[in-house]
Symmetry: C2
Subunit: 328 residues, 2 copies
């Protein structure tokens, strides 16, 4: 098969479409012919050498995609019925999405949401599982809560805004431009904060604090997130764009009876991923089917141009998702 291979580990842009061995199929894995791959910030981190695949997983990048089952190999759908060869699927991957074929563990294949095609499905698997698992399975958003998303105009932000609204929450977002905030507003955000002009913690305090904060910044925002938090609130950190080590004021956390979690999907074991995928399919797929959540593909690019796609994401040019079309 063909796949994107990084030829120089020191050079994140040395990504070329070339011959690679077909993945070996193990028991409990289906072979899927991929048509599209979703691009994630994590892929750019991996290219830069900061996000190695879990033990036993291919070095090929790509954490989500969509395509057609080639060998179901006894795997079953989230509802327990068997997958059949020829079924169209979305896939959550620990790696290997930038390729013509992927071996996908049982529990990580999903049906297409009703009314969705392969291209659109490839753009929502990772983000849906990420946002659902964090704001519902780790934190527990309740109706009437305030949920704060940093980077509201990114892929996670736009999806998160709509999911939180569908759950009956009020949504606050931070972003770095009026244009990005306008996008957030279009998708339903209630409290729009330009972090270059306002202190988000002060704004949130005026609203009584955020019950749930989904954070991609890490250290730089640690204390500010604590200030922005409501009593019994929950900060969930899923990225560290603003550094790894920060001072934690435990007294402040205690005064709020606050909770702080840091999570990720990629290194979870198969059982855990299967549990999240099923819960996401059960709860989020109906919201996609009836339009409570729409989604925004910024651009579709041929997978051969993946280095350009990574650059566009890192340069902050992207609002929503980039989808890579896989050559046949």
């Amino acid at each position: 098969m063909q796949a994107i291979i990084q030829n120089n580990p020191e050079d994140p842009s040395s990504l070329s479409w070339q011959e690679a061995p077909l993945p070996e199929l193990k028991e409990g894995e289906a072979l899927v012919e991929l048509h599209f791959a979703g691009l994630n910030r994590a892929d750019t981190l991996q290219a830069a050498g900061h996000y190695p695949p879990p033990a036993g997983v291919t070095e090929i990048m790509g954490l989500e995609g969509s395509g057609v089952v080639k060998k179901a190999n006894g795997t079953t759908r989230p509802d327990g019925t068997p997958w059949k060869d020829g079924d169209e699927v979305g896939v959550l991957l620990s790696g290997g999405g930038y390729a013509q074929f992927a071996a996908v563990p049982q529990g990580q294949l999903l049906p297409l949401p009703e009314g969705f095609d392969l291209q659109h499905t490839a753009s929502i698997v990772e983000v849906a599982c990420t946002v659902w698992s964090n704001i519902m399975l780790t934190a527990r958003v309740n109706e009437g809560n305030i949920v704060l998303f940093h980077g509201g105009a990114g892929g996670i932000g736009i999806f998160g805004i709509q999911l939180a609204k569908a759950l009956g929450a009020k949504v606050a977002v931070t972003a770095g431009s009026a244009e990005k905030l306008e996008t957030c507003k279009k998708y339903g955000a209630d409290i729009l904060i330009n972090y270059k002009e306002e202190d988000f913690a002060e704004v949130l305090k005026e609203h009584g604090g955020a019950n749930v904060i989904l954070d991609i910044i890490g250290a730089k925002y640690l204390d500010k997130n604590l200030s922005a938090l409501a009593k019994d609130g929950h900060i969930v950190i899923i990225g560290m764009q603003g550094g790894v080590k920060g001072e934690l004021n435990i007294g402040k956390l205690l005064n709020k009876r606050g909770n702080l979690s840091a999570t990720g999907l990629r290194y979870r074991d198969k059982e855990d991923k299967a549990r999240i995928v099923k819960d996401t399919a059960d709860n989020v797929w109906p919201m996609l089917a009836d339009g409570r959540i729409t989604h925004h593909i910024d651009r579709v690019m041929p997978i051969q141009d993946v280095a350009k796609a990574h650059k566009a994401l890192l340069d902050g040019e992207v609002t929503g998702k980039v989808v890579l079309e896989i050559a046949r």
Copy 2:
């Protein structure tokens, strides 16, 4: 009535038994004649000026006690049936336990556990609600988990060891002497760590990490607790004897998908307290009744000697609980 009054806010030992106004009974509160009060470290903090009562709560110290209902005033038991004047009860308080009478909000009165007298009940209300709410309602101890208690030979430690064992967990403790560790072992602790001689994080790593850590140290142990934590583990901080501000390595937290909460009972609202009291009565009272949890009263002292009692606790002389007998 008589109560313990702190005459000099600058002097934590200026505690005397003297005349005080009878508490005013509000709607939804029962009047309880107290026979015993349990002594908690929080009381010593309040005497030192570091732990003020919540707004609207008496300045009198004392977070738990036992006694007899004098005016039920329409309040009901955790099971929904009415309290009657003359019923013996345990009480969870936001303050006011060092006194002959207390006004106790609906939902914070409990029946005596089967086979328990007033003296023993006064010694377990706060600790039972604290340990249950933290290791089960905040963290979720599962069978086979490893639970680590710092200060294993203190009131919370001894209760926690037994509760965690009753839930099917393996228990690790830290303490500062062989004698204290022997006490922990007697109550069921499996992994005994003298923190003066061993690095608890290294010991826990050998066992695969702690799934739940109940911490009373705070900043000083923040990074070590993270090192000692298992994947998907939960650190619950309920004390800051080792300082308030510490460096948090978010990368380390993320690698473990760790959770960190800081909690307390005292400042929760009445609804939240009632929920915890009911859950504790439903789940922990049967463990006290059938002996799965026994408890250790270190000494019973007349309430007039409360300054001596505080000193004994602060000097580390106490193993288990101190109960104060209230003069009539």
